[in-house]
């Protein structure tokens, strides 16, 4: 007993160090497993307030750039209006308002980025919209240039988004020209590129080909821009092409984004459960 006591007295600093370090690693692995808990932490009000105050100040410095990007986007949207298209088909089934409600599949919630990072192994973006504004977990996030990520945690007024620049993020994407689809994921090195998986070797892929979302996952609508093919490699011992993609979204300068609300999600999930 005396020896034991002596032992503790002698090595108490080292023992304290080891036990605290075990505690820290317990926290880390706890959070790696249940990511939401960690993200909740960040999307909570204290740090959310600090970040949104800071963004409130810094936004004034970038007002011009923001308004420019909004004007650009308006111009793009205007080009997509029915009025600016020539409709050759003589349409007999004109949609009335009451039926239009049933036809619409997606609605969008605009949000401001209050914190952003591109250098971590799993990059998080925080938005100033939360549960009260209609943001929910597992919703996709896009901006005018392309896809941004997926909501992983929501509090009343803030939400945390796992950006495309996270190793756990995967999205189903397809080639615009021939509809071949595969999974896009980030390789963890460069904040402007990602890699495309599961494209068989017989698919003709050229540098510069456009990739868009497939709409198979319930995150994003179809045909949202993802990026362009940067390099294509064919390894003899592999069944699939190795494709790197230049992401169209500039993650270093996100300001305003849209949260995608899939109105038909419940129905598709129901169908999913019926089919299995």
């Amino acid at each position: 007993m005396y020896n034991l006591f002596q032992f503790f007295l002698r090595y108490y600093l080292f023992l304290l160090f080891v036990s605290l370090e075990i505690f820290c690693f317990y926290l880390i692995f706890q959070n790696k497993r249940y990511n939401e808990v960690a993200y909740m932490n960040v999307a909570n009000s204290v740090s959310g307030k600090v970040y949104s105050t800071y963004t409130g100040v810094s936004d004034y410095l970038y007002l011009r750039r923001f308004s420019d990007s909004l004007v650009d986007e308006n111009a793009k949207l205007r080009a997509q209006l029915l009025d600016s298209k020539y409709i050759s088909k003589i349409d007999s089934g004109i949609l009335r308002d009451s039926t239009l409600k049933n036809v619409q599949q997606y609605s969008f919630i605009s949000a401001r980025v209050i914190h952003n990072s591109v250098n971590e192994a799993a990059n998080l973006i925080y938005l100033d919209r939360g549960r009260l504004q209609g943001v929910g977990k597992q919703m996709g996030v896009i901006n005018a240039n392309g896809i941004v990520g997926q909501v992983v945690a929501v509090t009343d007024n803030y939400s945390a988004v796992m950006s495309v620049l996270s190793k756990e993020f995967k999205v189903s994407a397809k080639f615009k020209k021939n509809e071949f689809f595969g999974n896009l994921h980030w390789d963890g090195v460069n904040s402007t590129t990602a890699s495309m998986e599961d494209i068989p070797k017989h698919v003709p892929v050229k540098v510069g080909d456009t990739l868009v979302t497939s709409g198979f996952s319930q995150l994003f609508p179809r045909n949202i821009m993802v990026g362009r093919v940067k390099t294509v490699k064919m390894e003899p011992d592999k069944n699939f092409l190795e494709i790197t993609v230049d992401l169209s979204t500039n993650f270093g300068s996100l300001s305003y984004v849209y949260v995608v609300n899939n109105l038909k999600k419940q129905e598709i999930l129901l169908l999913d459960s019926l089919a299995h």
């Binding site: 605290l20 808990v37 932490n41 250098n119 192994a121 963890g188």
Partner: protein, 173 residues
């Protein structure tokens, strides 16, 4: 001795704000990820007991984790450098040196500080980046990232030190 407490609390707040609002938003490249926040632990008074250094290291790390959403990672790294600090100061300081109350860039000199900050930040960032990536793949990428981030962190820390250190010698206060 008493005015060390408000001084360190003020330094903690200043470093925390600088870290989360500026240095974690710099986005130089994926190789350079500077942290100046550990300076809080490194500038605590020389006389601070080891267990206090360890607890402060861990809790300041948890505070940073809370803002950056990386629960536990900075705490683990902060704890480690809190534990190692007395060893390191013993090793790198020549025998018979007179100490100030706390490390001061004008008293210890810039060479001593570069060695001190360089070694601690290398250890800190090695632990942090490997835990963050949770893998030993991509070893050379990680090594380069640790090295470059250490260099940039130390440069920013030195700038911080020269901006906020008092030149006045406070020996025997």
């Amino acid at each position: 001795m008493l005015n060390q407490i408000p001084l360190n609390i003020f330094r903690l707040a200043l470093l925390l704000l600088a870290q989360i609002l500026i240095f974690s938003n710099l986005n130089f490249s994926s190789f350079v990820n500077p942290y100046i926040f550990p300076l809080f632990i490194l500038l605590l008074p020389f006389e601070t007991p080891r267990w206090v250094l360890m607890l402060f290291g861990m809790f300041s790390g948890l505070l940073l984790d809370y803002f950056l959403g990386s629960t536990g990672m900075h705490a683990a790294a902060g704890l480690l450098i809190g534990y190692m600090r007395p060893f390191l100061i013993n090793i790198i300081t020549p025998k018979g040196t007179e100490f100030e109350i706390s490390p001061n860039v004008y008293a210890q000199g810039i060479t001593w500080f570069i060695v001190y900050l360089g070694i601690t930040m290398f250890i800190y960032l090695t632990l942090y980046f490997f835990v963050e990536a949770a893998t030993f793949l991509n070893f050379f990428f990680m090594l380069l990232k640790i090295f470059l981030s250490t260099v940039v962190s130390v440069i920013f820390m030195l700038i911080f030190l020269f901006l906020f250190s008092s030149k006045k010698k406070r020996r025997f206060v």
